[in-house]
């Protein structure tokens, strides 16, 4: 029932951040195909930042990645805010709206971070019901991201079973954050390749890539504050070749922002992997 959007060549993007907005917009150093923002950071914003954002919109297609939907929360959905998101998606001509498979609000209080949903059967039903509600309101498909987590909470099933159950019962897409898969496989001691094999990859509409921080021998925190490491590039390469089609990929860098040149190098690296995975199949005669 939902129309799949046309991607064209919008394939390698960057999270647009205030930290580097000015230099990004006033130079030709960092050249993504698209940008991504969190609607929470831009809805209702005027003045200087609105101008900067408008400049970015004039130049780049926009992907929108929300923070506060809290799809797995026991609290009711914030429909008033969701309507603002809908307007924002419309006004900016956003190509995709994705969110996190987590909860960020509980007991009527926002926590502004992504907490892990218990992997339970009732949570599966709860999430699918809410995905339906959100998509009906927005009149578009959303993509849900598998988040990094540092502890399971009262699980009745594995993470993979939980995600598959949700996708089986919800008409949404999957945002595959390859770094999150790597982080989770390390933290919860499973094989990330087998995990990817177990996902319905035909549902993937968007990919995230990022760096992380190992804080102890047995824990990685998903900081988005470092460069992507080689094992995550390898996992991306694997996911790309298994996908057998082109899916937009985003570089997330939220903290510890390096020189833009370094971000561009990461984008180039992602583009090379994408081409190697896709070109031999799709453009063999070109």
């Amino acid at each position: 029932m939902w129309r799949r959007q046309m991607w064209g060549e919008l394939m390698t993007g960057i999270g647009f951040r205030k930290d580097f907005a000015e230099e990004f917009l006033n130079s030709e150093i960092l050249l993504p195909d698209f940008i991504e923002v969190a609607p929470e950071n831009w809805i209702g914003v005027g003045g200087y930042w609105k101008k900067q954002f408008q400049q970015a919109l004039d130049r780049y297609p926009l992907f929108v990645h929300g923070l506060s939907l809290s799809i797995g929360s026991p609290d009711p959905l914030d429909l008033a805010f969701l309507k603002k998101v809908k307007t924002f998606l419309h006004d900016t001509g956003a190509r995709i709206y994705s969110e996190h498979l987590s909860y960020a609000k509980c007991d009527n209080a926002h926590l502004y971070d992504l907490l892990p949903i218990p992997f339970t059967r009732d949570a599966v039903k709860h999430v699918s019901e809410r995905v339906h509600q959100v998509q009906e309101l927005l009149q578009q498909k959303i993509a849900l991201e598998i988040v990094s987590y540092y502890t399971p909470v009262a699980p009745e099933m594995t993470e993979l079973e939980f995600i598959n159950e949700i996708l089986n019962t919800s008409d949404c897409d999957l945002l595959l954050d390859v770094n999150n898969i790597y982080v989770n496989s390390f933290n919860h001691k499973y094989d990330p390749y087998t995990f990817i094999d177990g996902l319905p990859l035909n549902r993937v509409s968007y990919i995230h890539m990022a760096g992380h921080q190992k804080v102890s021998d047995d824990l990685i925190i998903d900081t988005h504050g470092q460069a992507i490491i080689d094992p995550v590039y390898r996992l991306f390469d694997y996911a790309r070749s298994k996908l057998q089609r082109d899916v937009p990929v985003l570089l997330e860098r939220d903290f510890n922002i390096p020189e833009l040149k370094e971000l561009q190098e990461e984008l180039d690296h992602l583009r090379t992997i994408r081409k190697n995975a896709i070109y031999p199949k799709v453009y063999a005669t070109a």
Binding site: E40, N41, I43, G44, V45, G46, G47, Y48, W49, K50, K51, L67, S68, G72, S73, P74, D78, F81, Y103, K105, C106, D107, N108, A109, H110, L111, Y112, D113, L115, P116, I117, P118, T120, D122, A123, K125, H126, E129, Y150, T151, P152, V153, A154, P155, N187, V215, L219, I221
Partner: protein
Amino acid sequence: MQLLETTRSHQSNLATYCRTGEYTSIPGVNEKHVHHYRRLVYNVIDDTLRSAFPLTVNLLKSKEWNDTVQRFFSEHPCQSPQVWTMPKEFYTYLDETQPKLLKKYPFLLELIWFEWLEVELYMMPDKESEFDGKGELETDLLVINPEHILQSFTYPVHLKNAKFITVTDKGNYFLVMHRLPESGKVEFTDLSPFLVRMLELLSEQPSTSDDLTSRTAADFSMVPDQELTDQVQVFIARMKEKKLIL
């Protein structure tokens, strides 16, 4: 609602732990790692408040700041889905709960409000002015920049380093804060009661300088003399330069 009470209570226990630091055992949770959630969540709150209220952070002893933030976050359910507007709730919380800290620093609430107004004015949606002032200063209609806030304080939180404000500074302070049209920067200007009234009248409708002067003077039961007219002219010229008056 499909969630069972057990799932809901596990979620609530984790969220409560993040807000208060008080952990109630949750089945399946890795107790060695769960503290990272508390740390990460708390850091978002603390960082957001610190960047909204740098003068307040600078004034308070670090224990005072930390205790206040901690109490705010554990007692107050943050309502805004947009974290950058959450600091306004910090102000409201302090105003409503009146913690002892406000006795020690009687100007603290005003300082926090002043800092919040700077954020709010910097970030708020654009307001279009319906009018545009052009031509001769004396004859043309003056228009106030719609992106302004008139404010009064009982302590000079906008004028003086908060560390040196004492009860002897108590008085009536007026200011106007406005956003510069091009750069979006926020500026504030200290005002006399006369000028406050004048800007209030100007925000009601565009006026000529003469008309504005005489209407303001009338509110103070004064008849404008040359000295007052000259002072107003100087103020208006300065405010045109600062783009408070367009």
